[in-house]
């Protein structure tokens, strides 16, 4: 780094940024502790608390704009201090944190509002809002922490809230399984992040952002690579990127507002935040950046291909989230000016994806919780508002001019073409192909849901539009889908410069205009093809298909891979341990006894808990320990 990173101390209004975390936390505590007494008004408290911090977030934003340095640090208290290890309980409010605060509280407020209507028939609505507020508090802590430990605190908090909310409808076995899957895959990522933090502490003696970023350039190359790869593992776990992508689509078992807020707009983008925040580390090592770019490019194509083969409205959207975050990873991996592009795409995506998820929720609300797009069709006539708002989201995500996605995805594709070797063609091509595929599968989703012949199940006679409390957020988010990208692109990029730095400008291998024309052409082609294929509806049951479609239906066999490589050995290990712990030694003793006594009847007494088998295993252990001690000793002598 040519300049050192320093943060000013927070004063005045900005001295109270901690309120952003405290308010939803207190609200969550009230909702969860008061129990049924809060049932009648609890959801409004939940909405009000998020509304309040949105207003606060806006006023902080404007006071930050007035500052010269544009970043303030607030150290609340000494968190952990032992020996050389010193961790602050501190917050950092800078341009990057500020835009995330606005996204989380703004979109979060609308989704909270929507959930009042969506969850109105659910007995657990108060509890739902309690978890939801807990999530908001944890997410804000994640983006506001001024060191990696605080980030980790928030990281674990959002993971916990996400796990609880995915399993919210616990009586559905699929929800319980999905919760488990999300939990386990996130733990793999979390372990990566935790170890990265410990390496920082071991090599730099601190986990404060300022110290880490200033010291990173002095580290050995291998250490930087290790830290970066482990951070990437953490980011991939949280953001559903290859190879930890499988949990995200399953997470759709949670209530739809959860999918919209946590698994589309905010939490799953935490990985992008982590990499963007750690940009001084990632910028040090080109290999590291190439790995990030590859993960992004691979995931974005995977998401598109699988998304095109799914028939569950929420899962299609989920795979599209995976794919769009792939674009963001591609952006942060390219580095330089592309960091800001990725963040801008993230913000725009927050609007249009939340919009489409809530739209999907609205469709499900009117169609008795049907999620199969093969059983929709012709809904445009019955749900006008949902149709129009969803349509705006659709145009935004496929990157049609002049909608949001065009202004945010396009520059990332251009940047991918601007790498200075042959990889420009590889990654640029992948990003371009992704744009065409996105247009195809999103159009398929849109047409099958809202147009073509009705293919409803018999029990549905007259689908209805959702109540105003659900449609008003839809309209606002729909507006955001139209204008957010265009409005944000330039100002946000310059706003983020203090954090993400200026990028050197490279010329792409194709001219800017050519890329734009190509991508619009591919988009129109993909969308047109899908419209042609699906305007007359589709078969109601799965049709036999070629190898590509079959593979896509099976999530490109990634689940099968996970099962054979991780799950089965894991289960085997656990069983073996249980066996050894309870039965192994005991079984040996009993089998010997049975063999000697010749009575197979004795084998039936094979059961756990005999003292003799415990003593036996202790003796075995003792012999091993003594032997190990002597072995170490003799080895040392030799």
């Amino acid at each position: 780094m040519e300049h050192s990173v320093e943060y000013a101390h927070a004063t005045g209004l900005l001295g109270s940024v901690w309120l952003l975390v405290a308010i939803p936390l207190v609200s969550a505590a009230i909702l969860l502790l008061l129990g049924r007494r809060a049932d009648r008004w609890g959801h409004w408290l939940g909405v009000a608390s998020v509304g309040a911090i949105f207003v606060l977030g806006l006023s902080y934003f404007f006071s930050l704009r007035g500052l010269e340095n544009r970043s303030v640090e607030l150290s609340l208290w000494d968190f952990i201090a032992i020996g050389n290890l010193h961790v602050d309980f501190g917050l950092l409010y800078d341009p990057l944190a500020a835009v995330f605060v606005l996204l989380i509280t703004g979109v979060g407020f609308l989704i909270h509002l929507y959930a009042v209507g969506y969850m109105s028939h659910d007995a657990g609505r108060r509890k739902f809002f309690g978890f939801f507020n807990l999530f908001v508090a944890a997410m804000l802590l994640l983006v506001l922490g001024n060191n990696y430990v605080m980030l980790y605190v928030g990281w674990e908090g959002v993971g916990l809230a996400s796990y609880l909310l995915i399993s919210f409808w616990q009586d559905r076995p699929s929800a319980a399984t999905a919760g488990k899957k999300a939990f386990l895959m996130n733990r793999v990522g979390d372990a990566g992040l935790a170890i990265a933090i410990f390496i920082m502490f071991a090599t730099l003696g601190s986990t404060q952002f300022a110290d880490v970023f200033n010291g990173a350039s002095q580290l050995a190359g291998g250490t930087v690579l290790a830290i970066g790869l482990l951070l990437l593992l953490g980011a991939a776990g949280k953001s559903g990127q290859f190879p930890l992508q499988a949990w995200l689509p399953d997470a759709m078992e949670g209530p739809t507002p959860v999918s919209a807020l946590i698994h589309a707009a905010t939490m799953v983008t935490a990985g992008v935040y982590l990499i963007a925040r750690s940009n001084p580390i990632f910028s040090l090592d080109p290999t590291l950046q190439t790995v990030v770019v590859s993960v992004g490019a691979l995931t974005l194509l995977m998401g598109c291909i699988i998304g095109a083969a799914k028939d569950d409205i929420k899962r299609v959207l989920a795979w599209s989230t995976v794919s769009q975050i792939g674009y963001m990873f591609l952006g942060v991996g390219l580095g330089g000016g592309a960091y800001a592009l990725a963040i801008i795409h993230l913000l725009a995506h927050g609007f249009f994806k939340a919009n489409m998820f809530l739209g999907a929720g609205s469709v499900m609300h009117g169609m008795k919780d049907q999620v199969d797009i093969r059983r929709f069709g012709g809904l445009a006539k019955y749900m006008k508002i949902t149709w129009i708002t969803f349509g705006l989201g659709w145009l935004a995500i496929i990157g049609m001019w002049p909608f949001s996605g065009f202004f945010t995805k396009e520059p990332i594709i251009v940047e991918a073409f601007a790498r200075d070797d042959w990889t420009a063609w590889l990654y640029g091509g992948a990003a371009l192909l992704g744009a065409g595929l996105t247009a195809f599968y999103m159009t398929r989703l849109f047409v099958l849901t809202f147009h073509g012949p009705k293919r409803w199940t018999e029990d549905i006679e007259h689908p209805h539009e959702s109540p105003a409390i659900m449609t008003v957020p839809l309209i606002l988010l729909g507006l955001g889908s139209v204008v957010a990208g265009g409005l944000m692109a330039t100002p946000v990029a310059s706003w983020l410069t203090p954090v993400l730095g200026h990028g050197e400008h490279h010329e792409p291998v194709l001219s800017h205009t050519v890329i734009t024309v190509l991508s619009l052409l591919l988009t129109v082609l993909g969308a047109g093809l899908a419209w042609m294929l699906f305007r007359n509806g589709t078969a109601l049951v799965e049709q036999p298909a070629g190898p590509v479609v079959r593979a896509a239906r099976r999530n490109l066999y990634t689940d099968a891979f996970n099962e054979t490589v991780f799950e089965k050995p894991g289960i085997f290990l656990t069983r073996a341990l249980v066996f050894l712990d309870n039965r192994g030694i005991d079984g040996l003793v009993n089998a010997l006894a049975a063999a000697v006594g010749g009575g197979s009847g004795r084998l039936r007494r094979l059961q756990t808990g005999f003292v003799r088998s415990y003593a036996m295993s202790m003796l075995t252990g003792a012999v091993l320990v003594v032997a190990a001690f002597l072995a170490v000793q003799l080895g040392w002598l030799a």
Binding site: R36, W77, Y152, G157, A622, V625, A628, F629
Partner: protein
């Protein structure tokens, strides 16, 4: 023969003496007072003794000395751990003294009555419980206080027996599920004696080593100073030394429940009366680790390059076994037992960092874990049905609907066990891992992080079950806790929260105390 007594600093020994005196007094109370008054008198006596001893510890706070020959060392770690044992022991006494949840308390009146006989059923139903538990508990606590102060292996062994024997008895005194309780006690006793034998044998070998290494001094000894000198200076055969150290550590690893010497833990934790289980999980762990820390950091620190790989291997195995087996448990007490095994592994990671930070973070971890685990077992005593405690996990489904406050507290404690940030479980793990990293034991830290990721799962499964499942027909009721349990629970939960959010004061205290006299 001219026998000269070594000078004894009675003031420095005051905490131990106060408790020892109180336990003797407790036996007198059993003999003199009428049955009806004993409960209250014993409880008050016990709590007074604990508070008195705690005051003595605070007054001694600046002592750094070795007294009674070289048998007892009163130094920073001793005083810190004695304070911890007394606070946690006091909480344990509160749980033991609770009588409003179960008529007559958790303890049986006549332990010798045949299980299942009419007398047994009568006493299970309504007879006032035994009050011998109080002097037994006090004896155990005084033994623990001596154990963490012991400065030679013989004193250590005697203290080990002083605190173990009452625990064996206490395990057998459950009012409900008598057979399970008696079986647990017998197992604990047999295996405990077995482990003691290892310890004794190890002591003999180490003595042999110091004799061989004696050289200029007259023969050997088992006090830590002599061993320390012998380890650093001697060129005698080290086979004796390492065989001895191995056997000694086996005795101690048994008490801390490290794999593969953990086999007794689930059965004993499940069978013992729950307040005793909590007491053991908190206080025995503190005491046993106190002893282990002194043995490793004082007596054998010169050999740390040799024992760290082996004990590190045990730590990894312990964490793995505890974490993986916790996943398959269906009984809350067994689940907590395996979690206690895994936590022994994390503590070993800290204990193996032979440095000031390693010592202070391990001591911090012991205190933090003690509070959480006592409170958790306190909650277990409250979830009951007609047959006593309902410990099968399936019975806890939907508990959040029935009694949100209690389920909320328990959730918080489970999150602490899972090491979720803003609980003491996170800060303490972070501290020991940080210390281990500083001491160059990064492989232990990696194993620790990975297993704690696994271990979080069984706890969160319980959380989901309590909150997100419908309460079934068989969901037990939650008894209204009496004042004693409420106090213990409140202390435990508050400590878990405070040590998670602002652990700095206690860390500073531990840091200031983290220096052994040698």
């Amino acid at each position: 023969m001219d026998l000269k007594l070594p000078p004894i600093d009675y003031a420095a020994l005051a905490p131990i003496l106060v408790l020892f005196g109180a336990s003797c007094l407790g036996i007198l109370v059993e003999a003199i007072l009428p049955r009806a008054r004993r409960h209250l008198a014993q409880l008050v006596l016990g709590l007074l003794a604990v508070v008195g001893a705690l005051v003595a510890v605070v007054l001694n706070a600046h002592d750094r000395l070795v007294t009674a020959g070289s048998a007892v060392a009163i130094d920073g770690p001793t005083l810190f751990l004695q304070g911890a044992i007394l606070v946690l022991g006091g909480m344990g006494l509160l749980l033991i003294g609770e009588r409003s949840v179960q008529r007559g308390g958790e303890f049986v009146a006549h332990a010798a009555v045949t299980v299942g006989s009419p007398e047994d059923q009568r006493q299970a139903a309504d007879e006032g419980g035994a009050t011998e538990v109080y002097p037994l508990t006090l004896f155990a606590i005084s033994g623990m206080l001596l154990f963490v102060a012991a400065n030679d292996l013989l004193t250590m062994f005697i203290a080990l027996e002083v605190f173990s024997l009452p625990l064996y008895l206490l395990c057998a005194l459950a009012r409900r599920r008598r057979l399970l309780s008696q079986e647990a006690a017998l197992k604990y006793f047999l295996l405990g004696s077995y482990a003691s034998a290892f310890f004794l044998f190890g002591m003999a070998l180490v003595y042999g080593f110091t004799v061989g290494a004696g050289g200029t001094t007259s023969g050997g000894g088992v006090d830590f100073g002599t061993i320390r000198t012998a380890v650093t200076d001697s060129d005698a055969s080290e086979v004796l030394l390492f065989a001895g150290l191995a056997l000694l550590s086996i005795g101690l690893l048994f008490k801390i429940a490290a794999a593969p010497f953990h086999v007794w833990t689930p059965d004993v934790y499940q069978g013992a009366p729950t307040p005793i289980t909590g007491f053991m999980a908190a206080c025995t762990k503190v005491a046993a680790f106190g002893g282990l820390l002194r043995v490793l950091h004082v007596a054998f620190s010169g050999a740390s390059w040799d024992f760290t790989p082996v004990l590190g291997g045990i730590a990894v195995l312990t964490m793995l076994v505890g974490a993986i087996l916790a996943v398959t448990q269906t009984d809350i007490k067994r689940l907590l037992a395996y979690s206690s095994v895994a936590n022994a592994g994390y503590l070993l990671v800290g204990a193996l960092a032979i440095s000031k930070d390693g010592l202070s973070s391990t001591m911090f971890y012991l205190v933090a874990y003690g509070f959480t685990v006592l409170a958790a077992f306190g909650v277990v005593t409250l979830v009951r049905d007609a047959d006593g405690e309902a410990t099968h996990l399936s019975r806890w489904a939907g508990l959040g609907r029935r009694s949100p406050l209690l389920a909320g507290l328990f959730t918080f404690l489970l999150l602490a066990f899972a090491g979720i940030p803003l609980t003491s479980g996170f800060t303490s793990k972070f501290a020991v891992f940080g210390a281990a990293l500083d001491a160059g034991q990064s492989w232990l830290v990696i194993a620790g992080v990975l297993t704690s990721m696994i271990l979080a799962f069984p706890y969160l499964r319980v959380v989901v079950m309590m909150w997100l499942s419908e309460p079934g027909e068989s969901t037990p009721t939650v008894s209204l806790p009496g004042g004693l349990t409420t106090t213990a629970l409140a202390i435990g939960v508050l400590a878990t929260l405070v040590l998670g959010v602002a652990p700095a004061p206690l860390l500073d205290l531990a840091n200031g105390a983290a220096e052994f006299v040698r």
